[in-house]
Amino acid sequence: MAIFTVLSPNATSDPWPSPSVNEPKPMSTVYDSELFLRKTFEQDPRKGFELLFRQYYTPLCSHAVRFVYSRQLAEDLVSEVFYQFYRSEAYQKIHSSYISYLFTAVRNEAYTHLRKEFGKTDSIESSTENNLPGNQPQPDAEVHFNNLFLAVNESISQLPAQCRRVFLLSRFENKKYDEIAAELQISPRTVEVHISRALKHLRQTLREEWTLLLLLFNLFA
């Protein structure tokens, strides 16, 4: 039995032909570049997993850190996604490319983390936690995830210089309060004030995003 689809060029009529520049579709190239990974997964999942990790761990961490603003957290989060990916044998089931699956998972996890840290605590929708992709993604999800990390970024760039420096040292570099105090020659108390101010600011600017995001996720949960 053969199952195949024939796609004739005229079959999909585009009612709104877009005049913008046509980039070559990268989809096939993603599949091509992952072909080797796929073959390896078929032969030896553990080996395939190792290759997958080495190929994507670094860029995924780089992406996750835009949300969580902590190297350690970003690394832990991405490692966890890889762990679940292997343990749940997701590699046998996915229909997308590996990188697409991993990005979706990382962005979901980053969102979950931010919500826990900055979101409302009366989360009725806690059942949506740890929702690795597998659910049909909402059409707006990618946009909102983007808005989220852009908002985080903007919020941090709006902080007063010293406050931002303290926040980044604490969050991004994972330094302790007294270490930061020593480094910047300020009192530990001032460090605390800066941090709480930064967090408050972050919470405020993110509020708008949250309202949208929570609404979205409640609708589809």
């Binding site: 585009d14 009612p15 709104w16 877009s18 913008s20 520049v21 980039e23 579709k25 990268p26 989809m27 190239t29 993603v30 080797f36 073959k39 078929e42 032969q43 553990r46 190792e50 990790f53 080495r54 994507y56 761990y57 670094t58 860029p59 995924l60 961490c61 780089s62 992406h63 850190v65 835009r66 190297r71 970003a74 690394e75 490692s79 890889f82 762990y83 292997y86 343990r87 749940s88 044998e89 997701a90 997308s96 490319s97 990188i99 697409s100 990005f103 979706t104 929702n131 597998g134 659910n135 993604p137 059409p139 707006d140 990618e142 946009v143 983007n146 852009l150 970024n153 903007e154 991004f172």
Partner: protein, 332 residues
């Protein structure tokens, strides 16, 4: 419908540099699920072009590998409910058990090799041309055997096992798939693209490279070693496990009168026969292994294969058995 979008537009948007109009175009584009794959591919490219930081990937992987080793069996119970509509865990243990039994059965049974490998075997007076699945040509010399895996030859490393002697002309694959000839647990030749001859018998192992580049991996009692060979070189592994790499005995074309000058210095009979094949196109075999390893020194002029064979037989006190298609050198 698929809106097209340029990568530059997306990158500007991701960097927070898009104006409201551009931003709206990107958002519309993102809302189409058909674009998700493209988006993620470009997102990857964007991240790669400006990494936020360089995580310690190796440490992270080691940690993760440790964690996985502690829980090697896949965790089925905690699987997200959305992923298994067919309740895989009901039949999976039985399937796993059945497969395990089958694998164990095959592993223990004597048919294992037959099942897993296609074996080519030549008789004493027979030479066989074999074309492998991947296009690699093998000339299997007399009294030799070659094992080629039936499964996975194309996907993984292309690995064959050889006892005896064979000449390989390896097809290079676009994905740089490796081709390995194993002659024992201690010795293998890895092809970096090319033509070469491997001679692997009890008395010793010789490898001669004609074209391209190969690497030899071998193990001594204490360590693993590697050796990269260049064309015209010969590597010899002695019974004691020592390896020698040296150029093939030099052969000079003098003129039509005098023919070729073969300069043998402790050159084995096997190597001499190999050179006859190279320079005169005449195949010659050596009857047994210990004979093949006997060496000869001296300068020999020869215009034809037979002239050199006469010199060799006289020096070694041998005779040529010409009953078959290929002359065979035998002890007198």
């Amino acid at each position: 419908m698929t809106h097209s979008l340029s990568k530059q537009n997306l990158f500007a948007y991701l960097a927070g540099q898009a104006n409201p109009l551009e931003r709206q175009i990107v958002e519309e584009w993102l809302k189409n699920p058909a674009n998700t794959e493209t988006f993620h591919a470009w997102l990857l490219e964007w991240e790669m072009s400006a990494l936020q930081f360089q995580p310690d990937q190796e440490t992270a992987f080691d940690k993760l590998a440790q964690r996985l080793d502690q829980t090697e069996t896949p965790d089925i119970v905690n699987e997200p409910a959305t992923t298994s509509p067919f309740r895989l865990w009901n039949w999976r243990p039985y399937l796993v058990a059945a497969v395990a039994l089958l694998v164990l059965g095959i592993a223990l049974s004597p048919v294992r090799t037959t099942l897993l490998y296609q074996t080519y075997q030549t008789a004493v007076d027979q030479t066989q041309r074999i074309q492998l699945e991947d296009g690699t040509g093998v000339t299997l010399k007399p009294n030799s055997s070659l094992q080629v895996p039936r499964f996975g030859f194309r996907q993984d490393i292309r690995q064959v096992s050889l006892t005896g002697e064979a000449r390989f002309s390896v097809t290079h694959k676009l994905d740089n798939q490796r081709f390995v000839v194993k002659t024992s647990d201690q010795f293998q030749v890895e092809v970096l693209g090319t033509e070469f001859t491997v001679y692997a018998r009890k008395q010793g192992t010789n490898v001669v490279l004609d074209r391209g580049k190969i690497r030899i991996d071998y193990k001594t009692d204490t360590k693993k070693q590697q050796l990269v060979m260049k064309p015209g070189e010969m590597a010899m592994l002695t019974q004691q496990g020592n390896i020698h790499l040296r150029p093939l005995a030099p052969v000079k074309a003098i003129d039509a009168q005098k023919g070729h000058l073969f300069q043998f210095r402790d050159t084995s009979l096997w190597e001499a026969c190999y050179l006859i094949g190279e320079y005169f196109g005449q195949k010659v075999e050596v009857a047994d292994d210990s004979l093949a390893q006997r060496t000869i020194s001296g300068n020999f002029h020869a215009r034809t294969a037979n002239e050199l064979l006469d010199l060799l037989t006289a020096t070694f006190t041998l005779r040529v058995d010409s009953t078959g298609a290929t002359p065979i050198l035998k002890d007198n």
